[in-house]
């Protein structure tokens, strides 16, 4: 047997196990709660526990599978290829393409600067570069899976759709404003080395290995947030107490959306950390648009990333960037509150 096939064998064998587990989570949970622990049905504690025991493995299973698949897909998209695809693209087409590529190209906020320099230097327009930099952190796989797991596919699609629109239009507007003179002076003057790195030939088994390491990396980092988040959700299950946060974020107050953006921008969290908070807010009756606006401003616009970008951008451009994206998020929040 060649090693490519061997590498494929384990995931293929695990898939039916995954499916059986996923399909039978509810009966397994009920069996544990009702038959093994013999807990009284209908009490707050029992139902909270049922929610917790069902929800944690459900989200974990989804996360593992999707991150594995995304990890493999990402081996086909390197930043170098993305840059090549974006070179010389016209403004609008470039923005759309950059936003889509932002979702699938591997990205870590610590690489924001080299990516920015690499893009701009090779002639990718400023606005197109921004579309990429907005979409990449905002629409990430962990956020998407958790939204699906906790709120269903409609909320998930809404998030992806509006996130893409914001990235496309914010980048487009920044491009139209012609703000190149607000990029730090040295950026356009310096010439950077050409990458002498050879494009690595990846075998299928290498791609599978990337899938494994993505799962190990990401699930290893976010599992604790999921347990905490679902734990909070479980504790509140069935409870809807009045609360300060909810009353100011209430739908009847128009300022709830701007306020949640204002609170969200300086807050920094990874997608996994913010979802528990969002689920608490929604559970407590905060309208969806306000909650999504809060989530987008927290993970899409973060102070640490802005401070990193200060090295290559002048303040007016940073302010424009924050302003345009925050306005986009505001509009999304208002529209959803109005629609739903």
């Amino acid at each position: 047997m060649n090693s490519n096939r061997k590498a494929l064998l384990i995931p293929l064998l695990l898939l039916p196990v995954w499916y059986l587990l996923y399909r039978n989570l509810q009966p397994i949970t009920n069996f544990l709660i009702d038959t093994v622990f013999k807990l009284e049905k209908g009490t707050h504690l029992t139902e909270s526990l049922r929610f917790f025991i069902f929800e944690v493995p459900k989200v974990m299973l989804l996360l593992t599978l999707i991150i594995f698949i995304v990890g493999i897909i990402r081996t086909f998209f390197t930043p170098e290829r993305t840059r090549k695809a974006l070179e010389g693209k016209s403004l609008f087409t470039g923005n759309v393409l950059a936003s889509l590529l932002g979702v699938v190209t591997p990205f870590c906020s610590c690489s924001a600067i080299p990516l920015f320099l690499g893009f701009v230097e090779s002639g990718v327009p400023l606005g197109v570069t921004f579309s990429f930099l907005i979409a990449a952190p905002m629409i990430n796989e962990v956020a998407v899976i958790l939204l699906y797991g906790l709120f269903g596919w409609k909320v998930m699609l809404m998030y992806i759709g509006t996130g893409l629109l914001i990235a496309i239009f914010a980048g487009y507007i920044i491009g139209k404003l012609k703000l190149e003179h607000w990029v730090a002076d040295w950026v356009y003057k310096s010439r950077f080395g050409n990458n002498t790195q050879e494009e690595q030939k990846l075998l299928f088994k290498d791609r599978i290995r990337f899938g494994y390491s993505a799962v190990k990396d990401i699930v290893g980092k976010v599992w604790i947030y999921i347990i905490i988040g679902v734990g909070i959700g479980a504790g509140m299950h069935g409870f809807v107490p009045e609360n300060f946060m909810v009353s100011i974020m209430d739908k009847s107050h128009w300022y709830s959306v701007p306020l949640s953006v204002l609170v969200g921008v300086p807050l920094y969290s990874n997608a996994a950390g913010i979802i528990p908070i969002v689920s608490v807010l929604i559970e407590k009756g905060v309208p969806l648009g306000t909650a999504l606006a809060f989530m987008m401003s927290t993970i899409g616009l973060s102070l640490p990333e802005i401070i990193i970008l200060k090295k290559v951008l002048k303040w007016p451009l940073i302010a424009t960037f924050i302003g345009v994206v925050a306005t986009g998020i505001l509009i999304v929040g208002f529209i959803f509150n109005w629609l739903l």
């Binding site: 390197t78 930043p79 170098e80 840059r83 591997p106 870590c108 610590c110 690489s111 600067i113 080299p114 990516l115 320099l117 690499g118 893009f119 040295w186 310096s190 950077f192 080395g193 050409n194 990458n195 002498t196 790195q197 690595q200 090295k311």
Partner: protein
């Protein structure tokens, strides 16, 4: 001429992991190379990489944007030493 390995990274978690791994592989195998960490973004950009961390063997970028296993690092470094 002495062989030099450069670890390119601005200080993110992955960059630190890579530097530590490289140093460990080099010292535990007694490879005759010098390991240098490069933090300066301008200097990093001279190598034309767009994701950190990166590893440079001599003046050749070996890889960027990931932290390979120690076994893989060993292979890279041995290949470089024996070249």
């Amino acid at each position: 001429m002495e062989k030099i390995i450069k670890v390119l990274g601005t200080g993110c978690a992955k960059c630190k992991t890579l530097e530590a791994s490289v140093r460990e592989v080099v010292s535990s195998n007694n490879y005759p190379v010098e390991v240098i960490k490069i933090d300066d973004i301008m200097e990093i950009m001279q190598f034309g990489i767009m994701t950190t961390p990166g590893l440079v063997l001599g003046d050749q970028v070996a890889f960027s944007g990931r932290v390979p296993s120690k076994d893989e690092l060993k292979k890279y470094i041995e290949q470089y030493i024996n070249a």
